[in-house]
Structure formats: C-alpha cells, structure tokens
Symmetry: C2
Subunit: 642 residues, 2 copies
C-alpha cells in the first residue's frame, strides 16, 4: 500500500477535477458572516457536535472498536450493523467545522478516534466492527451489511479533514481501507456491491483528492454492476436498493429514498469525471422525476414508511410522509452536483427549498434535538420523547428527539451545516454566481477579487453584493432568481433571468460597487398539482423560500383547531414582523363545524350536511419552527372555504 | 387434567350462555341455499381448503411438528413464530365446512393433524413448535411469541369441530393446552399475557362449550392484566398491543388493528358472560370510534403499514391503506358479538359493508388467490405475484397471491366463509331477525318453525321471507333496514325501522306466507367526511351494499385513465345488468388534461393552469371484482369535475 500523492487543495465538499459549468469555492473562501446559518454553524461547534459525540459514546459506537483490541469489557457489540458510520459522519462534521477556525480539542478528538480505528483496522486495511466482532463474514451479506457504506463515510470524513485543515489523520486509515476495496472489488473482479450506496461519491472525491484513477474506476464499476439483481430480493424487492434496473436505464427515482439519492450523487460525480453526457442525462431525468410528483413542498423526500421509499408519482400524503431528514440532505447533495454540472438554477431552487424548510426544521433551536421523520401534518399532538431516550425512527414523535436508535440523521445534519459555505456560491476567473442567499464573505483568488453578500434573507428580500476588491477585468456577477420570485428586481430594474434562471450583470467593477437584488417577499398561496389526491382542495402559504404552517401546541387549547380551520383563499394575509426571522402571518377563514357529521367517515351526497363555520383567523409560522413549543397539531396544506 | 363436561350444543360460531338481546342460530339451522355465498362455500370446500392445506404442508407448518417427534428430517423449524396457528385456522375452516355435509377425507385430515399434535404435545399439555424447537423458552417472550395466540386458534378449531360435527378430536388436544394455561396464568398467578390477543374469545367459547367457569375467569384475567405495560415497549410502543391503557379506560381503537379487534371481540364475550354493562359500554365506544373516522368505505380497517395500525381519526388514505383482510374479519367478528349483545343494526351495517366489499374482494373468483392488503386506489398497475410465490405481506402487489409469507389471512377467510350461515340470522321462540340478506333455509326449532329467504341480493333488492312451517303463536319477523336504504318498502309500504334499525312485523303466520322487503338499489353517490384529507373533493359510487370502483387493467391501454377521470356528480349513472351479480355502471365526466402542470407537485395559485378536460364516460364495477383481470389501476373515490 502506497500513500497517495496529494495534488489538489480545493477545500469544497465537491471538488471536480474536470471542468464543470460552475466551479465550486472552498469553505475557506466562502464564510457565512451572519444570520441564521452563521448562528447554526456556531451552535454546531458549541452544542451539536459535543452532543453527538457524547451520544455515540453512550451508544457504544466507540466501544465497538475498543472491545476488538481489548480496551473495553463490553461483552457484545452494540447497535446496528452500520453504527461505525455514526462515528465517521461525526468525524466529518468535526473536520468541516475546523474550517471555521482551529480547535485543538476537536483535533485531539479526531486523533484519538483515528488511533482507535487504526489499532482496530486489520493488516490488510479492512475495518468494520460488525464483521470483526464475528457477527458476519467479510462481504458475507453485502445486501444488508453496509460495509462499503461505512467505508464511504470514513473516506468522506478523510477528504473533509484534509480539505478543511490540510491534516491527513483520517486519510491514514481511510486510504488503506479504500485500497482493500479496490483490490477486492475492482482488481479482484467481484461483480457485486453494497446494498446501501454511499461509497460512490466518496470514491470519486478520493480520486479528486489523490488523482488516483482506480478510485474513480471502482466507483464506476460499483455503479455498473448495480441494477442486475446482484443483491437478491431482500425484504422489499430489488428496487429497494436500486438493483432491479441498471442506472443507465432508470429514468425515475424508485425504492429507498436515501439509497436512491446517494447513488444519484455518485452517478453525477462519475458522469462529470468520466465525461459521460449520457449518464449525466439519466441523472437529470431521475432528478426531474423526483421533483415532478415525488417531492414535498417542504423539501421532504420519500413518501413511504414502508421501505423508507419513494411512493408513486403524486403520492404525497402530508400526514403519512416518511420524509427522512437524510433523504432531503441527499437530495441537497445530488442537486448541488447537478448544479455544478449543468448551471441550471432549478437545482438550486430545490436546495433552497430543502435548506429553509425541512432541513431548517430538522433541528430544534437548542441544536440538540432533531427530527428523523418530517411530516407536513399532525392531526393531534403526539407524545414527546423524553430527553435521554432514543426513539426508533418510525416512532413519529411529536417533538424532536435527542438521538435515534438509527442515528443517521443528526450527524448528517451536522456535517451539512458545518460545510454549508461550500454550497452557496460558485465562481471562476470571470464570474461569480450566487445561488443561495446568506450574508457571506467571498474570496475569489482566481479573479483576484473579494466580495461580501449582505442580507437579512429570508426575513427580508434585499440582497446586496458588495465588491470588496474589484476584479481586474470585466466580470460577471450572476444572481439566481428563484422560481417563485415573480417581480424580482436587480438595481431597481425588473430582473430578467436567462434560461438557466440567473440575472447576470457583466461589466467592469470597482471596489465598493454594490449590486442590489430585491426579491418579492409577500405571502403567496400555492396550490397542489390536481393529481395529488392527498392535497386536493387545499392551499399552502409561502413567503420567499419559506413554507408556512399553522400550529396549535397541545397546551394552547383555546387556539383555533388547525384541523377545523378553512382558509379564505381570497382574503389578505397579514404579516407581523419578527426580529431577524421571517414574519408571522395571519390567515383568515373559518372554523368548520363538523357537528352534523358524526357516525362514520362518509355520508350520502344527497342530504349531506352543509359545510358551515364561524369566521376565524389563525397565525401561521415558518414550517421549520413547528414543534418548538412542545407537541402540537400542525398542517402545511390548509383546506379552502367552501 | 379432567375431561370437561359437555353441556351445550348450539352449533354457532358465537354461542352465549347468558341471555343476549339476540340469540344466534347454528350453522345447521341456517343454510345458505344459493347465490354468491353458496358458491363461495362450495368452492371453499372444493378449492380453497385443499389449496390451503397444500400450502401449509409446503411451508413446513406440519414438518415443524413432525421434526419434534422424529418424523421429519427437516433440519430447522421453518416460518414465523405463529405458524402453528396457520394449521389451527385451517382445521377450524375444515371443521366448519363439515357442517355442510360429511366428508370422510376431511375428517381424516383432522384426525391425522390431531394425532400429530398429540404426539408433539408435552405431557403437561403445552404445545408450540417454536418453543419446543428450542428457539425460545416457554412464555419467555410473551410480547412477540404468540404462544397464547396459537393456543387460542387451537381452541377455536376444537370448538368449531365439536359444534359442527359433535366430534371432539381437536378438543382432545386443545383442552389439555387450555388447562396448562389455566394453571400457569390463572391459578399460577402470572400477571402478564400474550402480545397478540386472540385467546380471549377462544376461552370464552370453550367456557360456553364446557361451562367450566375457569376458562371465563382466565379470559377475564388476561384482559384485566393488559394495559399496564406488562409487555414492555416492543418495537412500536405499548399501544401497539393495547398494553398502554387498561381496556376499561380505553374508549378509542388504537394500535395494531387485528390485535385491537380480536381483543374487542373477547371483551364483548366477557362482558356478556359476566353481565358487565360497563365493560360492554366500553366495547361499544371503541367500536363507534372505529366506525367514526377509522373505517374505510369498503370496510377496510387499519390505515397504517407502520405497526399494521389504526391511524388517527380521519386518517383514511385510499392509496396507502394497509387494510389487512384479517382486520376486517376481526371487525366482522366483533360486530356480530355486539349485534347479539345489543340488537342494534349498526353492527350489522358494518358487517354487510365488510362482507360485500373488502371480504368479497379478498379472494379471487378462482378462490385460490387472496389479498392481504386491501387498497382503495392503485395509481399504476403493480407487478403480479407469480403462482407459487408468496409475497411478504407488505409487498402490496397488483394481484391476489396464492399464499403469503405471513399466512394469516387466507385461512381466516376460509373459516369465516365456511361458518357464514351462523352470522346472517338470529331467532328465538317469538321472533326471527334477518340481518344479512342471502338465500337461506332457516330452521327455528325453538319456535317450531321453518322459513326460507329468497333473494338475488345484491344484484337485486327484493328479499322474500317465506314461511315454510308457521310458528304456532304470534311471532315477529324483523328485517334489517340498512343505513343506506332510504325508500325501502315492506309489503309495498314504506319501511319504518325502529330505533334499532329493524322493520318488525308481528302477527300470526300461516305456512306459505311471504314477507317482501324491497331495498332501493339505484346507484348513489357518497361523499367523505370533510375532515378526511385524503378524500377531499371526491365522491364514491355505491349501489345497495356494494361499493364500486373504476379500473383500468394494464392491458387495456386504450381505456380511460382512472387517474385522470373526473366525475360529473350531477350526471346520471347508467346500469348495465349482469347475470346473477351486481350490474356494471357507467359514470360520466371528463378526462383531466394535466399537460400544463409539468415540473413539480405545486404551482402558485395566481396563474395556475385552468383545469380542463374532454368529456368521457368510464365503467365502474364492484370493488370486490378489482384485479380479477390482472394488475390494474383502480380507484374507489373519484375526483369531481371542477
């Protein structure tokens, strides 16, 4: 095993080697300087990461390693087969967080964890505490074993560390494992793969870091063998793990949502690095199928508890949605890759929807409680999860929980927030593209320029891009005009987005110049596609990128019952400003009187009770804030009067 | 262990000792003489039962017994922990079927199976192949082990056999097992119970057969200990197996639907035999909560795949419904018990809804293919299950399957159909009550009378009750007026049902007299409760007790797309008569044009596309007939135009 040659240093979560339409910027180059995401990044360091590290210790994730080298007397391995990945994702979060400033104790945590992993690692590079505990043979149950999935997360953590800090600590254990897998699955000629995609993205990033082509070849091979039934039927059939149809023939997203979307991310990476427009076009088609009838207004993804799966097109129940946080993060990751590859704002539109709604709502304001499942309706307040307990994912509690029996989501949130700066802006020698609006400082060394973005978005729609150090040449600043932003202006003139969805200003710039975007932030009503049965006869309320909900906390018994409120869709929606966050809204309508409807869930149409109700108003708050006041009733889609 | 004294011989599925408002009649006294249920009973004997027995042999259910006594070289026990119950339910079906006429080979089957069970049975009466295979200790995992559940099914089979045939073959192994459980759980003072209710009904019936009060006491004890968290949290929390709230404090149906409803049946039985009006009133409240927002129009019960559970009130998604066949059968059983206890037709209304729709649809016309999950909407044709394969229950296939990995439903259907005569009619010395309409011959020895019911229901609404041997005294014939039957007539006069829902004719009768009921069988439209989000803006079509659906088989590509059809709710519905079965209907409306809606599942309300479409007509067929033409699109609730 030879140490890889490090040849690149773009400190971005996704760092393509080949030219892409848009070029990412590193996490040191785009710093979030204020607003909700800056707060969240700070809290991720001070609260979420320590909380997560304590929970994985408590859950035995580290003892699973220690006991293999005699450093723990834990009698049995604990947790799910994939629990090693909880550690690796926490390490990735710690690594990205280090980009925001040195933290010696965090570096020690990485050192200690890596020392433990190294001593557990077999001489041939393999490491997996489930297999090494004797609970399964190596690659003996690829369909369910998650061995390559765990390896992928280790590799992603390693890449994050070296990009964020230049340190190769994690890389020192990840590369031998990657080499082991190259030997076994690429050079060894195995023709199967892991039941849970994830390693594909990791291998491409390792290739990007090392420029060792074998990692890319292995990623491609693992994608190519998939779809031929190599994993057996499993419990839910081969579509569950995208093994029924080869990727190139699959134009729809199906099966387990997180698996489908991690795979999609890897497929885009491979298409980019191998220069394969056909494969890229398949990925675009899959993504489009996801948006067109398999994505919730909140950015939640994956309708079904059963198999944690995508439903049929237009199967979007607000109450029964699974909507795993990880699936929306996976959609965010895949969308970013497609944005880089194509330059189309549609991918950023979905990223923004995910970020401001389902992802923002995944975490409580204390940053130590999380949602795994993200409903858009709760008919009744459901039990809270007492601190210290970890619900199974399917428990659909009424409040965020500290941790989960399957603990994939919290570390996933942390690594995403810690690296968020890398997902906002792209740039190159002759242009800067601002995709997601937040207050940032942007260094663009390629153009010898610096900028800042100043905004209170999404509380306010004004976004100012200020030139701090002007580029020498004519230079283009491109501002994404969101798909909802009818009436946006740039420098006071109606924005004229191009076919890719960007308003572009190309000119010579001077230091101090400002480019002002005004996005229309009035509340607006949104209707569902007529084929979405679960939402027929309802509207949702949005304002800018923020989806609203109506909520009645369990303790607010006097408040309007969200299950009885019907909105007057023609009435004005009033705003109540709130400091630093999107305003509260007041909706007008009536409280439906169901008293004539007792008995059963149906009635003869002839002689059915008239629908009546008393006039009422109800407050709406950003969806992301729901359940911050304890268990509650909540709904996003509101029936209309009549 | 002493043999019980047999003291009663009412050959009914439910045979109360104490007086109930209505008195059941035995399966020999009410014979179904023609029409769809007679056909199905005949096919149950000739097709379903042989098919089921072959499948349980193939699945190793019998080998699980044989290997314990050295008669099979099967290396391992096969199947789920509760697979013994598959045999017991098949034996119950065989036993009830024997009431329709002797069948020596069927008797031999019972003899052979009982010989096998007896030789497997431990000396102390206990028998359970999972535990005896050493896979669990006795009562070591009551929450999941299904030991008492299996015992309950053995007891029910035994009671069925002795009632239907007078033979005590199964009883000879069931009573020792029951005695074992009495010793351990009643006399032994254990304060826990089985995770899956079922034995409660069985023990009460064994009490009714033997008059041994200890069985009733045990049933009551098992109900009383429940609801105190004696089963631990399990995977879904204690509400899953009705262990979070004691029965007497529970006024709503919650948790796993089959468990909740088997328990409900047992609770009614106990309330009746202990003379406990408070407990009966709790049972009525639970049942009412089920009907009022937790029951589908088709009679499907249990909304959620997750935990196979009841959803929240008004959570009735037609597409994502679990609707296990067993849950509807359990509702049928519990409703019958409540009907006997209270005399209210509301319970028969639900039985009729279940019988003509979800239960009728559970079985293919060949009587050897079954549904486990019963959706009310299929957006696209789903894969068929090849013969010889057994899907896991959750596979939600597009066609009925020969068998299931969890095989509870098919034998449950068979035992219900084989004993169906026992669920139609009640009677006593001074009256006959006809609850469910079918052509039958009714012997009422208590009144010295005989009747026949002649009808082509539900193809036709005319029901003739003819007196074959008149009762000596004044006598009341009560005819249930279904809740939907606005405009029913009796003897040509408007029917005037009493508060219990029955039109009663009390008079002296002569042999040859006829009482003629005419039920209005015009198609009618039904609307959902306004709180049922999943059905807002739709109507369903019913005719008599039959719920209709629109369907497009996969092969009928030219037919109207059921997902695009919108019904004109004010247009006339045309009937096309079909021999012996309910007519086909033709619905008028339009085919919605969704072409302006591509992109995502939502759109700004301002500027949303107009809903347009071309006029169209579509055929509707009884819901029970769906998927008889191969995988198909199907829906019961149809959006209205505009």
């Amino acid at each position: 095993m030879t140490a890889p040659a490090v040849t690149t240093a773009l400190a971005a979560p996704v760092a393509p080697v080949r030219d892409t339409v848009l070029r990412p910027l590193g996490v040191h180059d785009v710093r979030i300087t204020g607003g909700p995401w800056a707060d969240w990044q700070r809290d991720t360091r001070s609260r979420s990461i320590p909380h997560g590290l304590a929970w994985i210790e408590r859950e035995g994730v580290l003892d699973n390693f220690r006991r293999l080298i005699g450093e723990s007397d834990a009698p049995e391995r604990r947790g799910w087969v994939f629990s090693d990945s909880d550690l690796y994702k926490m390490l990735e979060a710690v690594a990205w967080d280090l980009a925001h400033g040195a933290d010696e104790s965090a570096e020690h945590r990485i050192d200690d964890a890596v020392a433990l992993i190294r001593r557990t690692q077999e001489h041939d590079g393999y490491v997996n505490t489930h297999v090494q505990a004797g609970l399964e043979t190596r690659y003996g149950n690829l369909a369910r074993g998650h061995e390559l999935y765990c390896a992928g997360h280790l590799i992603q953590a390693a890449v994050a560390e070296v990009r964020a800090t230049g340190r190769e600590t994690i890389l020192s254990v990840a590369v031998p494992f990657a080499e082991r897998i190259v030997s076994d699955f690429l050079e060894g000629g195995r023709d199967d793969t892991d039941g849970h995609p994830e390693i594909e993205m990791a291998l491409v990033e390792l290739y990007r870091h090392t420029r060792d082509r074998r990692y890319l070849d292995l990623a491609q091979r693992l994608v190519d063998v998939r779809g031929h039934g190599v994993l057996g039927p499993g419990l839910f059939g081969p579509a569950y793990f995208q093994d029924d149809v080869p990727v190139r023939a699959q134009h729809d997203v199906v099966g387990h949502a997180v698996r489908a979307l991690y795979l999609l991310g890897g497929v885009v990476d491979i298409a980019v690095e191998t220069g394969d427009p056909e494969l890229l076009s398949v990925a675009e088609a899959q993504w489009a199928s996801m948006l067109d009838g398999k994505t919730y207004l909140t950015g939640a993804i994956g309708s079904r508890f059963e198999g944690e799966a995508f439903g049929d097109r237009h199967e979007l129940p607000p109450d029964l949605v699974y909507g795993e946080t990880c699936a929306s993060i996976a959609a965010f990751m895949a969308s970013w890759r497609l944005l880089l590859a194509t330059g189309s704002s549609r991918y950023a539109d979905l990223m923004e929807r995910v970020l401001h709604n389902v992802l923002a709502g995944s975490t409580a304001s204390d940053r130590t409680h999380f949602f795994y499942v993200n409903p858009a309706q709760r008919r009744r307040p459901q039990r809270a999860v007492p601190d210290g307990e970890k619900p199974v994912r399917t428990d659909a509690p009424g409040e965020r929980a500290e941790w989960f029996d399957v603990a994939c989501c919290p570390p996933n949130i942390m690594r995403t927030i810690a690296s968020l700066g890398g997902y906002l802006t792209t740039g190159s020698t002759d242009g800067l593209q601002v995709h997601l609006y937040a207050s940032t400082r942007i260094d663009l060394p390629a153009a010898g320029a610096r900028f800042e973005v100043v905004t209170a978005y999404p509380a306010d729609g004004r976004v100012v891009v200020r030139v701090l150090d002007a580029p020498d040449d004519v230079f283009e600043i491109a501002l994404r005009i969101p798909d909802w932003a009818e009436g946006a202006t740039v420098q006071g003139e109606p924005a004229a987005p191009d076919a890719d969805g960007y308003a572009r200003v190309r000119r010579a710039w001077s230091t101090g110049d400002e480019l002002v975007l005004e996005l229309p932030m009035h509340p607006r009503l949104t209707v569902p596609h007529p084929a979405v049965d679960a939402l027929r006869g309802t509207v949702a309320v949005e304002r800018g990128p923020v989806v609203y909900c109506i909520e009645r906390p369990a303790e607010a018994a006097d408040a309007v019952d969200t299950e009885l409120f019907e909105i007057d869709a023609d009435a004005e929606v009033a705003e109540t400003a709130r400091e630093g966050v999107a305003p509260a809204l007041t909706l007008r309508g009536r409280v439906r009187d169901d008293s004539a409807w007792r008995g059963s869930g149906w009635r003869a149409r002839d002689g059915r009770p008239e629908r009546t109700g008393a006039s009422a108003a109800i407050d709406a708050i950003p969806y992301a804030e729901w359940a911050n006041r304890g268990p509650s009733q909540m709904r996003v889609w509101i029936p209309t009067v009549g």
